[in-house]
């Protein structure tokens, strides 16, 4: 559930430092999770799959690679909390319309499988300031 709410409305934008682009992301689950439960955040933009190594996850000021999330046993992604997911890509996304998909895979302890919940949204990247 919460599929349609994973990507925070209107949050897709290029990062200020020009190193890539990012969006606000909420956990598609009914309770907060310790970060080690996040098995994957698979991102697709305009049909192109982003390599896992290019993705960063930031919550309350701490930034992790997806591999680092897997061994983080204290820090949490809280219920309804907006984390920042960023994609390393020099220059970010070109200005204009884009379609972004984020698929979050969680290892839920009482389920024998790891559910994947996915959200797709259109986003407009404004032209860079001249």
């Amino acid at each position: 559930m919460y599929d349609q709410h994973i990507i925070y409305p209107g949050s897709v934008r290029n990062t200020d430092d020009g190193a890539g682009w990012q969006f606000g992301a909420r956990l598609p689950y009914y309770r907060g999770q310790i970060l080690s439960a996040v098995e994957d955040i698979a991102i697709t933009v305009d049909g192109e799959k982003i390599a896992r190594e290019q993705v960063r996850f930031t919550v309350r000021g701490r930034t992790f690679t997806l591999d680092e999330l897997e061994t983080e046993y204290v820090e949490r992604w809280e219920f309804g909390e907006v984390a920042q997911v960023s994609v390393l890509r020099p220059g970010g996304l070109p200005a204009g319309e884009h379609q972004v998909t984020a698929a979050v895979q969680l290892r839920i302890s009482y389920l024998p499988w790891s559910p994947v919940t996915s959200c797709t949204t259109g986003a407009t990247i404004a032209p860079a300031h001249a």
Binding site: M1, Y30, R31, G32, A37, R107, S109, Y110
Partner: protein, 329 residues
Amino acid sequence: MTTPHDIKRGVSLYSYQYETFLRRMTLDDCIAHAASLGARGIEVVSEQSFTGFPDVPQAQIDGWFDSLERHGAYAQCHDMFLDVKLYKDRKLNFEEMVTSLKRDLRFAKRLGCRNVRVIVNTPPEVVVACVPLAEELDVRMGIEVHSPFHFDHPWILRYTELTRATGSDHVGYVPDMGMYTKNYPPVFRDRFLRLGATPKIVEYILEAHAARVLADYVLMDVRKLGGNAVDLQMAETLRHNIWSNPRRMLEFMPWIFNIHAKFYEIDDSGREPAIPYEEIIPVLIEGGYQGHLSSEYEGQRHIEDAFEVDGREQVRRQQDMFKRLLGEA
């Protein structure tokens, strides 16, 4: 006129999760709403309503007690989880599980809850190992008997065997009324249709459900009928949303500490079309149940793709139904 009884009303804040997630309700709003309905026993999924679990900042705990007091409500139950898969490469061992449950017992005490909902995947040996601490803290542990489990499932039979052998009255059950899904929930059906289920196969599944056909057989039949992935997903729900006999609670009544009054929808006529509370509540009265009927609205996940979720209205309707069936006012 209704038989005298001592059943109390409450709400699990799980019911307002959608509004909480979207930051449209605060913890105080949730407590205020429940209390405004006279549902004063508050159950909380702590990892949903607080942050930093298990080290929830004291300010949040203070806020919790302030809200309860201000609205005339009280803490009833803390819903505990057991993260057996915390580590990707191994499951928690016995000692780690015991430590986890003990942590939750202490957290419940900190919240002022007399009851802990123990999630159903918790091994009974772990619960048994925590009995001394539960008694010391006077916090009761109730395994959530949750569909597809039921009181006569081997997993629960084993729990009963091991926990009753302790002789403790601090270990028992929190039955979730989802195991009494007598009629197929209309909100499930409608969502599967929206997702692309085949109307004729949907019809078939509804008939098979009404005839109580073994779920495995329905699944095989749906495959034979050429069902698509959504049809198969709908057939799978027959495995997970079961009907059993509410009268089976009678045998376990002394150890039922709380009831998850699960519901998917209260319709305009004021009834839960799937879960027959008009059958369930008389059983609770007959058995002398003294705990809470704790509203647990779970319709949001079945309608969010197409409709506005309104947890408050749904809880209000269920509490109205409870008042009627409990003979209040």
